[in-house]
């Protein structure tokens, strides 16, 4: 068994990588779902929701087929990348749904005002849409990250349980429970909880930084 520290560092690396993969895609999809009146809309919704509908182990088998030698992405199974990918896919629907709720709350009037002030759609996205949806986007990221940290079923199937290489916190905990090593399991559970709380603290700090947004109407009845 690898040391607790190795496990924690690996878990963080895997979860961060998962977020790097999931967040841009999630934002793009949420944006399309909220702002575009596509005909393929429902299909996107369905595909995005799938990973939520299936037990992670099944997703793991699906990924194993994709990443195996016979699949298009030969040789990626049983690597840290596979673990990140599994986490990203499992976290994606949660992130997308939360992003959708956050973006739906943004009044398009502000986006139009920004455009009439000379901002092109990209600028509007960066200066208006994202800041206005900030709280919700942060919440979605939090959910996604914490979910990625706790991902087990898909990961162990597609990435295996290789200490030091793919054994993340949940896998480590599971292994120790199965082995009857309760003390070690409790230690890792405590570490998981600590990590989640640390994430929450960072989230709250970022929220406070994001200052004004989300409080838009709290203060007065003037305007």
């Amino acid at each position: 068994m690898s040391s607790d520290l190795t496990i924690v560092l690996l878990s963080l690396r895997v979860a961060v990588a998962a977020m790097l993969m999931a967040l841009p895609i999630a934002f793009g999809l949420a944006w399309i779902l909220v702002r575009k009146q596509l005909r393929g809309r429902f299909l996107i919704e369905a595909i995005v929701s799938l990973p939520l509908a299936l037990p992670p182990v099944v997703i793991g088998y699906g990924l194993l087929i994709l990443l195996g030698n016979r699949g298009p992405f030969d040789g990626l199974a049983f690597t840290a990348f596979a673990a990140s990918l599994a986490s990203a896919i499992v976290a994606l629907p949660l992130i997308v749904r939360t992003f959708v709720v956050a973006l739906e709350a943004v009044d398009p009037r502000f986006e139009l005002a920004a455009r009439s002030l000379g901002a092109n759609p990209w600028r509007v996205l960066v200066t208006v849409t994202i800041p206005l949806a900030y709280r919700g986007l942060l919440a979605g990221t939090l959910i996604g990250f914490v979910r990625a940290l706790s991902e087990f079923g898909a990961t162990i199937v597609v990435a295996g349980n290789i200490p030091g290489r793919t054994q993340t916190l949940p896998l480590g905990i599971f292994t120790r429970i199965q082995a009857g090593d309760d003390a070690a399991a409790y230690r890792l559970v405590a570490v998981s909880i600590a990590l989640a709380i640390a994430t929450l603290i960072v989230h709250d700090l970022l929220l406070r930084r994001g200052g004004l947004s989300g409080r838009r109407h709290r203060a007065g009845f003037g305007a």
Binding site: G68, N69, A77, F78, G160, I162, Q178, G180
Partner: protein, 236 residues
């Protein structure tokens, strides 16, 4: 009986997931015989043992290896003297279609490619596989290429998809998987005997129905069902 729900005399048996089909079938036969309903909860053997330890309701257990049963015995969960050996299984090396037959387990050390085994920490099958490598003197040679998987099925899946070149799995699992080929049957002497033990859980003296059911499984009627599914009943 003291399982829960399902009627007063129904019993609950926690059994290794690899026995699912077999036991459900045997359960029906037993029910027709005795008029008593048997319910099963299937899972990984180690997990089942943990569940019993933590207070899961159950009348009997059937595991895919001795270790979890040893643990339950050690913690006095099992009715003394009720343990018996029900079935045997074999460990085999599988590979994807193209690989050549092996003549010895140590051949794997010289061949490249990843080797999927159930995680020795998680499943008895993994333990047997590790013992076999160690006995063949090739554990050091293959350790870095070993992929510990969730369970035997996941090891089969890894080979089936080509993510691993070889796998060490039970003969019964290899038999039902279509895309893999048995390359080598590991001699039984290389590892602890692969025995499926059964026992009665020690709650209020143990369930009489459970006793009868285990007896049924160990008898001829049960043996027929097991054989139909590729197992070797110990009683034969």
């Amino acid at each position: 009986g003291c399982g829960n729900g399902g009627g007063d005399d129904a019993i609950l048996v926690l059994a290794a997931a690899s026995l699912t089909d077999t036991l459900l079938e045997a359960g029906v036969v037993f029910e027709e015989d005795s008029g008593v309903e048997v319910e099963f909860s299937f899972g990984g053997s180690n997990a089942l043992a943990r569940q019993v330890e933590l207070g899961a309701p159950s009348d009997a257990v059937i595991f895919a290896g001795a270790a979890p049963m040893d643990r339950l015995e050690a913690s006095d969960q099992v009715l003394a003297g009720s343990r018996l050996e029900l079935l045997r299984n074999r460990l085999v090396v599988i590979g994807d279609g193209g690989a050549a037959q092996l003549s010895d387990l140590s051949d794997l050390a010289s061949l490249g490619g990843r080797i999927a085994i159930a995680d020795p920490e998680l499943a008895p099958a993994g333990l047997y596989a590790k013992q076999a490598f160690e006995a063949a003197g090739s554990w050091e040679g293959v350790e870095s290429r070993v992929i510990p998987t969730l369970d035997v099925r996941a090891a089969v899946g890894a080979v089936d998809t080509g993510s691993a070149a070889f796998g060490l799995v039970y003969g019964t699992d290899a038999a039902v998987a279509s895309g893999v080929e048995v390359l080598y049957v590991i001699p039984e002497g290389l590892h602890d005997p692969i025995i499926y033990p059964a026992a009665i859980i020690d709650r209020e003296g143990g369930s009489e129905v459970a006793r009868r059911f285990i007896g049924f499984l160990a008898g001829d009627a049960g043996g027929v069902v097991f054989e139909r599914h590729g197992f070797v009943p110990v009683s034969r």
